[in-house]
Symmetry: C2
Subunit: 263 residues, 2 copies
């Protein structure tokens, strides 16, 4: 099964565009063991999401032990829910091939985020895994997005990334990352690439616009929230608080999708 098929099945089954970011941060965590924290989060949210997205930075910061925890966490995710490695990798072809092996073959992720700066040969080794998803950073949610991504006179760099990504999408496994804080950018990218899945972070702590995320994302939107759900409570009721917040976000997205037509 291709990544997009797996995504759409999970999205339909759980009636959800919500992706939960699994980013363990010791500074924010409730009083629970790291190995127990994320499995509990997964248990109470796995009927509410279309995907999970661990950001590798949070595991690498914990050393080798952190990466062992990541392996364990992945085993707790139900097989039918796609898992996106938020890794933002990108290197010359020879090295990108190794990153693709690490993320797809070793960890078994269903999809990955990659950075486009080094161009086609840096992305090709990921895209060549035809059944895996590859989300190319396009117009990101952070303040620094305006340093380079909007550079250009006739059209901005992020549009060039979207156009090229479209050309590279012969296996229909390429998607784009566009932040929910970039409302005009979301609209423009969706015009350029009507068929692609969009991974849309930035709706929670970064205060992006959920309405635009849903409207321009469409049925292939993956709207991601991490801190807002994981750390909804930093006390022993963290799991029920996380579920409540995930449910609220999923339902809020669905209200925008369906209006009040009895979803």
């Amino acid at each position: 099964m291709s990544f997009v098929e797996k995504l759409l099945q999970a999205s339909q089954k759980n009636n959800s565009l919500l992706c939960v970011g699994l980013d363990p941060d010791p500074e924010l965590m409730p009083p629970v063991k790291l190995v127990d924290f994320l499995p509990e989060i997964i248990e109470v949210t796995s009927d509410l999401v279309c995907a999970y997205k661990p950001n590798l930075a949070f595991y690498e910061a914990l050393g080798l032990e952190g990466l062992a925890v990541l392996k364990e966490v992945l085993e707790h995710i139900p097989a039918e829910i796609p898992i996106i490695a938020d890794a933002k990798r990108g290197d010359i072809g020879n090295s990108s091939r190794k990153y693709a092996q690490a993320l797809f073959d070793r960890f078994g992720f269903d999809a990955v985020t990659v950075s486009p700066y080094l161009g086609e040969d840096s992305l090709r080794p990921f895209i060549d895994y035809a059944d895996k998803g590859v989300f190319i950073l396009c117009y990101t949610s952070n303040p620094g997005a305006s340093d380079f991504q909007t550079f250009g006179e006739q059209f901005p760099l992020f549009e060039l990334v979207a156009r090229k990504a479209k050309g590279w999408n012969t296996h229909e496994n390429v998607g784009l990352v566009v932040g929910a804080t970039q409302i005009e950018g979301l609209k423009r990218v969706r015009e350029l690439c009507p068929e692609m899945p969009l991974l849309i972070p930035g709706v929670g702590a970064q205060q992006g616009d959920l309405g635009s995320a849903v409207r321009y994302g469409g049925e292939k939107a993956i709207i991601s929230s991490s801190r807002q759900i994981l750390y909804a409570s930093r006390d022993s009721d963290f799991a029920s608080a996380a579920r409540r917040e995930a449910l609220r976000l999923r339902d809020e997205m669905n209200r925008i999708r369906y209006g009040d037509k009895g979803w």
Copy 2:
């Protein structure tokens, strides 16, 4: 001691601009155990280099075991030689802080390569480690460099990266990555940023121009070669072959630096 001081001391002591990339590739390796391979390479080259540069992709591709090997390999490098993590990381500030912790605090690297696509807040957590070096991808050695890095009408994106990097360099710990295959680019970047260390890959397997690398790199050049040295022989004489190749490269650079004036 700052990264640049450490670099210049090693470079002067070994009279060398050569950086050896420590990239273990099972498909190319001689018949020796992985844990023994790189320590032997280090032993026979540590008097010939200004820095070592492990590319994390090659270790991650070997799973958790590969990262344990990386930790061991780092312990074999003499304390006075700087070690650059070729990681090409870059994420929103919150996540980049975690990558910086992983690479600087956990692994103890002296410097790191980062990707600029996400802009200033994605690089700041690395740069804030004032004693560590941060090499920002600018104009890379691979064919895909022309996909985005030369985009722009009045001046190309890689020039914008160089200009901004210069502005962010308040701790004098920022450098740029420019491939030896980009002769005009090297010249231009050196004009824009006369003070910055340049990490210059691409002289070996990628057939970059060593003369331009030395000329435009100057005394703060770090000219990197991986495969050409590591896999100079794929037989049991790999260590002596690697030393011979490293010596040849170092001396060839020095002939360009000093002419025939008896270096």
